[in-house]
């Protein structure tokens, strides 16, 4: 297949996935904002969302205050914001249009229809009037886009590059989400510049033996009920943002604890939005398109996958989650560069 075509497919899938993840994060923040909470906590939530996408600076230059209205406007419909849902859906559609002949009619029409309907929703003010419903719409358009791909496309190279795009982007997004959400709680598991709380948690974790689950920490006894409540809503929101709330219950049958949330979203191979599951998909699709020059990239991907497959959450938390995720994002980024070099934008002969 043409390298340029593969490039468009890869980015079409990435942008669609990004639109979905942006909608997911906005939705969770919006749902959180409906709960009684301090203004400070609410604002922290919206700020966190901007920092996930590394666009706090751009936002601050263009908007005067951080409020649900401004952040939603910026993240949904701001054409100047490359991460906005608008920008992502348009880029996905433009990439699809550039290779519409490679897609099945259904896949192309889904992309095109999504873009047309999005403009209608914007025209109706749907994202401000009923944000929850509108975010749900974005999610479902993304589900549809993936589903129609799996359901109609020949499983040739085009298909594999679409899949690689989806899962590489999802791995990146889940890692960012984790990084920010663990950063935004007072007692974090970050490990960098760890104060007494961090140290305590680390010690607690270190005492836990590996296996199929983590022991519940005794921390809740030390904390007030308010914290317990906050913890529950904070972590359940994180889980919901990756459709992981029900999954968590099913897997752990236990109260929601941050370290288990981390384990689920990093290491569980059967959790479809975990880093392990995403990297597994990237590697298996990458193998299907391997060419003469892609050995190094495949090795990079394989090693990253193996690290997740054989990793343990206590070890990860011992190094510090932030350091771990930062390194993960760097490796995903390097992998993206490798894929681009080997397949999508080959150097001229």
């Amino acid at each position: 297949m043409l390298s340029r075509t593969a490039d468009h497919l890869f980015w079409m899938a990435r942008y669609m996935e990004r639109a979905e993840n942006t909608a997911r994060m906005l939705d969770v923040n919006y749902q959180m904002s409906l709960l009684p909470q301090s203004e400070e906590a609410a604002e922290r939530g919206w700020r966190g969302l901007l920092s996930i996408n590394e666009i706090s600076g751009d936002f601050a230059r263009r908007y005067r205050e951080v409020s649900p209205r401004t952040v939603i406007e910026y993240m949904v419909n701001d054409a100047a914001n490359g991460s906005s849902i608008r920008s992502c859906l348009m880029a996905a559609r433009e990439n699809a249009r550039a290779v519409r002949g490679t897609l099945t009619t259904e896949v192309w029409e889904t992309q095109n229809q999504t873009w047309l309907e999005f403009q209608r929703l914007i025209g109706d003010g749907a994202f401000q009037k009923s944000p929850g419903e509108a975010f749900e719409w974005v999610k479902f358009r993304s589900h549809l886009s993936r589903g129609v791909t799996v359901g109609t496309m020949l499983q040739d190279e085009a298909f594999h590059f679409l899949r690689i795009g989806s899962f590489l982007e999802r791995a990146d997004n889940t890692a960012r989400l984790l990084d920010v959400k663990f950063h935004s709680v007072p007692h974090d598991l970050f490990g960098n510049g760890a104060g007494p709380i961090g140290a305590r948690i680390r010690n607690g974790i270190a005492a836990v033996t590996g296996g199929d689950g983590l022991q519940s920490q005794s921390q809740s006894q030390e904390s007030g009920n308010k914290d317990v409540e906050f913890d529950f809503y904070h972590w359940s929101a994180v889980l919901r943002s990756v459709s992981g709330f029900e999954v968590y219950r099913k897997v752990y049958r236990n109260v929601i604890r941050p370290e288990r949330v981390a384990e689920l979203l990093i290491l569980r191979p059967d959790m479809p939005r975990s880093l392990a599951a995403c990297m597994h998909e990237v590697v298996s699709n990458l193998h299907r398109v391997a060419n003469e020059q892609s050995k190094d990239t495949l090795r990079l991907a394989g090693r990253l996958c193996a690290d997740l497959q054989y990793g343990r959450i206590d070890e990860i938390l011992a190094t510090g989650l932030h350091a771990y995720l930062t390194q993960f994002l760097e490796r995903v980024n390097a992998l993206g560069t490798g894929i681009s070099r080997d397949f999508l934008v080959p150097v001229s002969p």
Partner: protein, 480 residues
């Protein structure tokens, strides 16, 4: 100017036989049906993304309709009885065969110029003449593999109608995707109509096209790799390029995807370089190869002409076919048919005044108000004067231009293009139409029945071009 020939009604106002079935069906329909169906069609066209770009308009990414527009689609089919089509088809076969012979002759022995049938300076001094093609052997001696021949019907004094060829398009004719999509749309909107009529199918066009392209691959190639070359997604006909590539199951490439090494053309793929044997190019001559033609072109591929001249790749259409479809050459096509085939033309030419001829120019200047004056290199309905519809100012402007550079113009009597009932704001009313059949030349000459019918939606307008507010209709070749 005579009243236009009405495709549906005869001069007494009675419905013509081949429209009888449709007329009966239409009368059975409740009044709001057409409006509902039209809205439905518009939604589908948008969703499918059957759009074309308008040049010169600012792009807002399609956000508000933007530069991606729909070509208006009219719901009422243009019906041609099968016996008429058979005659048209014979005529097209003859005409395109002669035109291909002509281009081959121009770039080889130039017998027709030596015989003085077509003035040599008119050909060799033509902006579309490509000296680079002189003596180059092309596969099967075919130059215009895909030809779009514009045909109109005008009324005779006795009220009958005659078909005329208005224009030959031998370079990169477009519109065939609309022919195919219009049929799909009609079958979707009005399935019951197709149950009641024996409409000749057209959906096999991509198959014929692929067969044609494969048949003109360089001789040494067994299983040729065929690609469509597009200027890219911002080109006005991008939808069609993507559509045809998809329908044929071949790659849609841009210039940047190709490169030439040792006079062979390759495309860059995820699995390394792949040889390309036949290029159905939808890029104009000028932009094909920055090394040979316009150096600033980023749409082509450096070295393509050299590879082509070496016989290692086939371009469809060939370079230099414009020398045969230029409006200044058009008046000589009937003579070409006689010269190469020894036959009488089956399809009429519109009588044409060649303004470089002083006698013709004199006549044109005296009758500007009655004639259509066209720039010989113009296309898309630009640079033309429709005398009867023009203001005094416009006529005077053209008079000046004509005197200053007569050889740039030809003139023809204003033909009242035939009309076809069309669903417009005020209801169903006659609008002027033309017809563009697509003729494929490879090992054999083939075409699907019918073509693209274009319709001038503005009342009284004779300009059917989509860039100027024209629409399209489904075209039915109807077996009795």
């Amino acid at each position: 100017m005579r009243p236009a020939f009405d495709e549906m009604l005869d001069t007494s106002g009675a419905v013509r036989e081949h429209y009888g079935g449709y007329d009966r069906w239409l009368k059975e329909q409740p009044p709001q049906v057409m409006q509902t169906r039209r809205d439905e069609a518009e939604v589908i066209f948008r969703r499918v993304g059957i759009t074309f770009a308008v040049y010169g308009a600012k792009d807002d990414g399609g956000a508000n309709g933007g530069t991606e527009r729909l070509i208006p689609f009219d719901l009422i089919p243009r019906v041609i009885p099968a016996h008429e089509w058979r005659e048209i088809e014979r005529g097209l076969r003859q005409r395109v065969t002669a035109l291909n012979r002509f281009v081959h002759d121009v770039y080889h022995g130039q017998e027709i110029l030596k015989a003085g049938v077509v003035p040599a300076d008119q050909v060799l001094g033509n902006a579309q003449y490509r000296a680079e093609m002189q003596g180059v052997a092309v596969a099967g001696d075919i130059y215009s593999h895909i030809a779009g021949i514009d045909i109109v019907r005008a009324a005779n004094p006795d009220g009958s109608g005659s078909y005329y060829v208005l224009e030959d398009n031998l370079r990169v004719p477009s519109g065939v995707s609309y022919m195919l999509e219009n049929r799909k749309m009609m079958m979707r909107l009005f399935p019951e109509l197709f149950g009641r009529h024996r409409v000749a199918p057209v959906a096999h066009y991509p198959d014929l096209l692929l067969e044609t392209l494969r048949s003109v691959a360089p001789a040494a190639v067994n299983d040729p790799t065929v690609v469509v070359l597009t200027p890219g997604m911002y080109n006005s006909a991008y939808f069609e390029h993507a559509f045809l590539a998809q329908q044929m199951g071949i790659e849609l490439v841009e210039g940047q995807d190709l490169y030439v090494r040792d006079n062979f053309v390759y495309m860059r793929t995820t699995q390394g370089p792949k040889r390309v044997d036949v290029i159905y190019r939808r890029v104009d001559d000028d932009f094909l190869d920055p090394r040979a033609f316009r150096a600033d072109s980023t749409l082509g591929c450096a070295g393509l002409l050299a590879a082509y001249r070496a016989g290692n790749v086939t371009l469809a259409n060939a370079i230099g076919t414009g020398v045969a479809d230029d409006k200044s050459i058009y008046p000589y096509v009937p003579k070409m048919i006689d010269f190469y085939l020894g036959e009488k033309p089956i399809l009429n030419n519109v009588p044409t005044y060649v303004c470089r001829d002083p006698d013709d120019l004199g006549h044109v200047l005296e009758h500007l108000g009655e004639l259509v004056v066209k720039e010989v290199h113009g296309a898309g309905g630009y640079g033309m004067l429709v005398g009867p519809a023009a203001t005094a100012d416009e006529i005077e402007r053209f008079r000046g231009a004509l005197k200053a550079d007569p050889s740039r113009y030809i003139a023809q009597p204003t033909l009242a293009l035939s009309t076809c009932p069309t669903f417009v704001e005020s209801g169903i009313a006659p609008r002027h139409i033309d017809l563009r059949p697509f003729v494929l030349s490879g090992k054999t000459v083939q075409m699907v029945p019918g073509g693209l019918t274009r319709v001038a939606l503005k009342e009284g307008s004779l300009v059917v071009n989509s860039s100027q507010g024209g629409g399209t209709k489904d075209t039915w070749i109807l077996e009795a």
